[in-house]
């Protein structure tokens, strides 16, 4: 589940970053600090953008960094930073980035349920700007939790 992988201590708000490399480094270092990935995983996340372009900017203002399980993942987890000021990634449609996620998964399916919930959060109208406007990690966590719970109740009610 999303908030098991993205715990409160893996959310940081108002992070200062110079460019997209710096964003990748900073959101990746949260995973590194929690011993979920090796240092080379962060390099691999960044290399993937160099190779394939900024398609990891999946929606307006949202970047989702990741590499492959074999690039040095020790444990499945996710991190989130909101940026002090938005950063250009060179994406035609979705720049500038305001919030950035990083995740590592030990295989191709352990993160699937969490990604589904993440998508629910990101598809909620105005959610990116609301997350971006929060001052503390607790407020971001509570807001995400609220959307996840609302959606779960709606599903159960079907």
């Amino acid at each position: 589940m999303l908030l098991d992988l993205l715990s409160k201590k893996r959310i940081f708000t108002k992070v200062k970053a110079e460019d997209w490399y710096d964003v990748g480094r900073k959101v990746g270092e949260i995973l590194l600090k929690d011993n979920l990935v090796e240092d080379r995983y962060i390099d691999a996340m960044i290399k993937s953008i160099e190779d394939n372009g900024p398609y990891i900017v999946v929606g307006e203002g949202i970047a989702v960094f990741h590499a492959r399980p074999e690039d040095g993942v020790k444990e499945t987890g996710m991190s989130l930073i909101t940026l002090d000021s938005p950063v250009e990634f060179g994406h035609d449609n979705n720049d500038p980035v305001k919030i950035a996620f990083a995740f590592g998964s030990i295989n191709n399916d352990q993160h699937v349920e969490a990604m589904s919930q993440l998508m629910t959060v990101l598809m909620e109208d105005g959610s990116v700007d609301k997350i971006y406007a929060k001052d503390t990690s607790s407020e971001v966590f509570d807001y995400i939790n609220q959307i996840v719970n609302k959606n779960r109740q709606e599903k159960e009610g079907e």
Partner: protein, 88 residues
């Protein structure tokens, strides 16, 4: 209808696209399955439709499937419009 959601590695944005497309299919009552793939495997896979970000779609030019590019994966309306356009 078989839809393939494709990204560079087949486990990040393709998964997010898959979920976005599934939500649209469900809301519109369209029958279809959505699978994920990385861009190099996708070249050898059969599907009716491929959905991908523009940079990835470029690499799939000439594929037998109809390739639909999605710029904003968090935008239900963009996904819906492009799927409905294919259906019509």
């Amino acid at each position: 209808m078989k839809i393939l959601a494709v990204c560079g590695m087949g486990l990040g944005s393709s998964l997010m696209l898959k979920m976005g497309v599934e939500k649209v299919l469900k809301a519109e009552g369209i029958e279809g399955t959505v699978e994920v793939s990385d861009v190099s495997s996708a070249k050898g896979e059969k599907a009716d439709v491929i959905v991908a970000a523009p940079e990835i779609a470029e690499q799939l030019e000439g594929h037998s499937a109809r390739v639909i590019t999605i710029k904003n994966m968090a935008d239900k309306n963009e996904i819906k419009e492009k799927i409905m356009d294919y259906m019509s």
